[in-house]
Chain length 319, copies 2
């Protein structure tokens, strides 16, 4: 089958990869559509070691499921963390933190930039007919955005700032605006601002932020500058949610965190079911983010394009 293969920081297109064989409890899924995400770019840069098929945002169709033949033909999205179900962390119910987890296209599990992938049946969530593929493919990043609301309470009266208006920042802002909170998004580029405006979300220039006034700041840039901005914006006893990964260590004034009693929260993967509900109700509109669609066979060109400024989302399709 066709796939995009990552090895030694080099992504290649290959058309002779064997179709994976589902193990017990797993299904074979034909990938309809897959999305390129910042994590894919970080994996290529070698921030984390990974060799294999890249990709973890997808929508597809179950084509084989020995233990559940009734699910063949089902259109699905997939929870990317494959948990053992047996370790202390799993027994506590924190499956996305399983000590022995593999992660689709990220840790020891062949990913979604391919014609087919395998995932455990319990990871595959049915997609309602009313959600088209180009919407459903955003379930995984939207779930990651919603992890914020799983971790902290956002009160309707809160002043909330999102630092960063790229792919993830836009999805986060679209979910936060639903809380009724006072929301502002730091957006540098005109295209980012326009996209926010289509959802009636207010943007703010980074030089015009009221310092030490925001109850909650979401840091979605993964940069030292983004964190510095978040730290300046948050009020005493406020919360900073770290929603992106960072290259290398960051030097932090811990004493000021203590004196101001700041709360810092790391945030990663989130819940799929509520993401699908918001997509079905069209309360979130991710298709605004789609810039280009490429056939998988032209996947390398897609990766060449996504690092250009002003690009939100590129999808890879299989026919």
């Amino acid at each position: 089958m066709q796939a995009l293969w990552l090895e030694n920081n080099q992504l290649t297109y290959q058309d002779n990869i064997p179709i994976p064989k589902p193990r017990q409890g797993e299904a074979l899924v034909h990938v309809n559509l897959a999305g390129i995400c910042a994590t894919d770019l970080e994996l290529i840069k070698g921030y984390y070691p990974y060799t294999g098929i890249l990709g973890h945002e997808f929508v597809g169709e179950i084509v084989q499921a020995i233990d559940a033949p009734e699910r063949v033909g089902e259109r699905v999205v997939g929870e990317i963390n494959i948990a053992c179900g047996l370790c202390d962390t799993c027994l506590r119910g924190h499956f996305t933190h399983c000590e022995r987890r593999t992660v689709l296209g990220i840790i020891n599990q062949a990913g979604a930039f391919a014609e087919y992938l395998c995932l455990p049946l319990k990871n595959l969530i049915s997609v309602s007919e009313s959600i088209p593929d180009e919407v459903a493919v955003f379930t995984e990043p939207l779930a990651a955005a919603l992890e914020i609301q799983e971790q902290i309470t956002i009160f309707p009266t809160n002043r909330v700032l999102v630092v960063g208006a790229g792919r993830l920042g836009q999805l986060i802002a679209q979910t936060l605006v639903l809380t009724g909170c006072h929301l502002q998004v730091v957006a540098r580029h005109e295209k980012q601002r326009q996209l926010l405006a289509t959802r009636q979300i207010g943007w703010v220039d980074e030089n015009a932020i009221s310092q030490h006034t925001f109850d909650i700041v979401i840091e979605a840039t993964g940069s030292v500058e983004g964190f510095a901005l978040a730290r300046q914006a948050v009020r005493p006893r406020g919360t900073i949610v770290l929603k992106s990964t960072y290259k290398g260590d960051i030097s932090v004034n811990f004493s000021s965190l203590v004196v101001d009693e700041i709360r810092l929260i790391g945030s990663r993967c989130g819940p799929f079911a509520p993401a699908l509900r918001l997509l079905e109700n069209r309360l979130v509109e991710p298709t605004l983010l789609i810039d280009y669609r490429y056939p998988l066979s032209e996947g390398l060109q897609a990766f060449g394009r996504i690092e250009q400024p002003g690009i939100f989302k590129i999808l890879l399709f299989l026919t």
Copy 2:
């Protein structure tokens, strides 16, 4: 009057300081007993700029209160943060974070290592007759310990680790053990371990900590090594409470905080009323920590002694 005066990183004993004059809404308090705290040592080292009378842990007696003559003679402890009551932070009820606050013996407010001090009447909390001075003098640090329980829920089933078994670590441990949680305290020195044992609190050697297993870790050392230990001990989705200030910046792997969804919380001053309740009920026994008592006139000797290893608390008394 007598006082310990800090200026240009130099602490001096002086006996000719004018007795402060209470302003409207303030009281003049005679200091009976005052405690030396790590923050005093940091102020002397110049971590924060301060010139004036040092000291913020005290118990005393109101000797003058023009607006409330009925309170003269009352034995009191004092909330050290003096809030304006008018700024956005005060209006939100976060008085200890007042944007214009002064802080007893720390920021622009003459402190407690003196015969007399002034504080607003609303900062002065009456001490029950059943609480002796040598117990009441621990109200402020005990309140700071209880700030943890104000900020996070400690479930009785939680595994909790306190890193550091000095002055503050001991008080924190004494309050945490009351929750019924599974509590361990990292204690290096025999005297620290013995003190914990008198309260049936378990200690652990820093090399014997189960990694990534604690739901909550309290970092009470204010050192880079202490934070590293806390980071190793906390489980995915767990919480680290930063309870001490740190010298300079600390370099942190933010990506690992994101991947493990760790929560970091800075924690400073806490509520006096519950601290007094625990002291009155003898549920916390701070007098175990007292190593020495010095008259204020020998305060400089006391400061010479407190940095020696194995010293928990030194009190300064006035007769």
